[in-house]
Symmetry: C2
Subunit: 205 residues, 2 copies
C-alpha cells in the first residue's frame, strides 16, 4: 500500500513543518503560507490538511497526541506499575526538543481555545482522551496495590491530570537550576505518595 | 493626595477595560486602540501605561496579581491553617467572572511568553512570586502540624503550585457536569492528604 504510506509520511512531514514554524515564530507567525514554505510545498497542496491557522493548529495537536500515544504504546513492558505510570507521564512532559514542541503546541492551542469557538470540539475530545488516560493510570496503580485504599480514584485521576498539566506549563516557562528533570522528580514524589506507606520506596530515592 | 488616588483609580479602570476586551475579543483582538475605545480614552492618553500589545498584557497581568494579593490580604483570619491555605488558593481559581478574567489573562500571557522574549522578565517575576506564595502556604501547614513530616517542603510547594496551575487550565477549558466548584474539592482533597492521618477530616467531607 505505497499510497497509504505516502499519505501518512506526508502528514508527518507536514506536522513537523508546523512544529518547526510554531516553535520558531510563535503561533501568530504560523500561517498556512509559512508552513507551506517550510515544508517545500505549495499552499494549494496543503488544502487537503488545513486551510486556516486554527485548522493548522488542530492538525498539529492531533499529531502530537498520536505521537504521544505511539511512544506510550512502544514503552517496554514494566513489571512495576508505578514505574510504568511514571514512564507514561514522562512521554507527556517537555523533556526533549520533540516533546517540548508538542507541549508548546498544546499550550498555544489551549490558550487559543479560550477565544476560538471552532476549537472547542477538538479541545473537548483531547480533554476526554487525557482524562481517560489518567483514569487508566490510577486504575493500574490501584490494581497493583499502589494506591492507598482511602483515596478516591476519580479524584486521584483529576489530581494527577492537573499536576501533570501544571508541571508542563512550569517546565515550558521556568526551567529551574536543578535541571529539566526536576519535573520527573515531582511526578515520582506524587506517585510514591499515593502508595500505601508500606509500599513506598526508601526515602532519598 | 487626590492625584495619587486618581492615578490608582485610572490604572484600575484601564485594567478592567483590558480584561473586558481580552475576555470578549481574545488576546489577538486586545489592541491598544480597542482598549482605549473600551475605556473611553484616547490612544495617546494610554501611552503612560502601555504602547504595545505585550505591554498591555503585562499591565493586565500585574494588575491581576495585585488584585489576587489584595483579596488574599483581606481574607478573614482563620484559625484552621488548612482552611486558610485553601482560601488563599481559592482566590487564584477561576470560580467567578472576575477571577476567570484574571486566569484568562494569565493563560494568554503564559502562552505568549513562550514566543515573546520581551515578556520573559515579567514572567520570571510572577513565577518567583507564586513560588514564594506556595512555599509560604506549605510552611504554614508544616508549622500547624498539617504536613506529614515525611514530606519534603520544597517538593510539596512545587507540587501544590503545579496542581493549582493545572486546575486553572482545566477549569478554564473544561467545566465538568459536577459544577465549577469541583476544582475546590480537588484542592481540599490534596490538602487533606498532606496532613498526618490522625489529623485528616472524616472521609466523605
Amino acid at each position: 500500500m505505497p499510497k497509504v504510506v505516502d499519505a501518512a509520511a506526508r502528514r508527518t512531514e507536514l506536522a513537523e513543518a508546523v512544529w518547526r514554524v510554531i516553535v520558531r515564530d510563535g503561533l501568530e507567525g504560523a500561517s498556512v503560507r509559512r508552513v507551506a514554505q517550510e515544508a517545500g510545498l505549495s499552499v494549494g497542496s496543503l488544502r487537503h490538511y488545513f486551510t486556516s491557522q486554527s485548522d493548522l493548529l488542530s492538525f498539529a495537536l492531533e499529531l502530537a497526541g498520536d505521537r504521544i500515544d505511539a511512544r506510550i504504546s512502544a514503552l517496554a513492558p514494566e513489571r512495576d506499575q508505578r514505574l510504568r505510570v511514571q514512564a507514561m507521564v514522562t512521554e507527556m512532559l517537555p523533556l526533549d526538543t520533540e516533546r517540548r514542541a508538542e507541549c508548546e503546541v498544546w499550550l498555544a492551542f489551549t490558550a487559543r481555545a479560550l477565544v476560538d469557538p471552532s476549537l472547542a470540539e477538538l479541545r473537548a475530545n483531547i480533554d476526554m482522551r487525557l482524562r481517560q488516560a489518567f483514569r487508566i493510570m490510577i486504575d493500574r496503580l490501584a490494581a497493583a496495590g499502589l494506591l492507598r485504599p482511602s483515596l478516591d480514584r476519580a479524584t486521584e485521576a483529576e489530581r494527577l491530570y492537573a499536576l501533570v498539566d501544571g508541571l508542563i506549563v512550569h517546565a515550558l516557562l521556568s526551567p529551574t537550576p536543578a535541571g529539566e528533570h526536576w519535573v520527573n522528580d515531582i511526578v515520582a514524589a506524587h506517585l510514591d505518595d499515593l502508595a500505601p506507606a508500606t509500599d513506598r520506596p526508601p526515602a532519598g530515592r
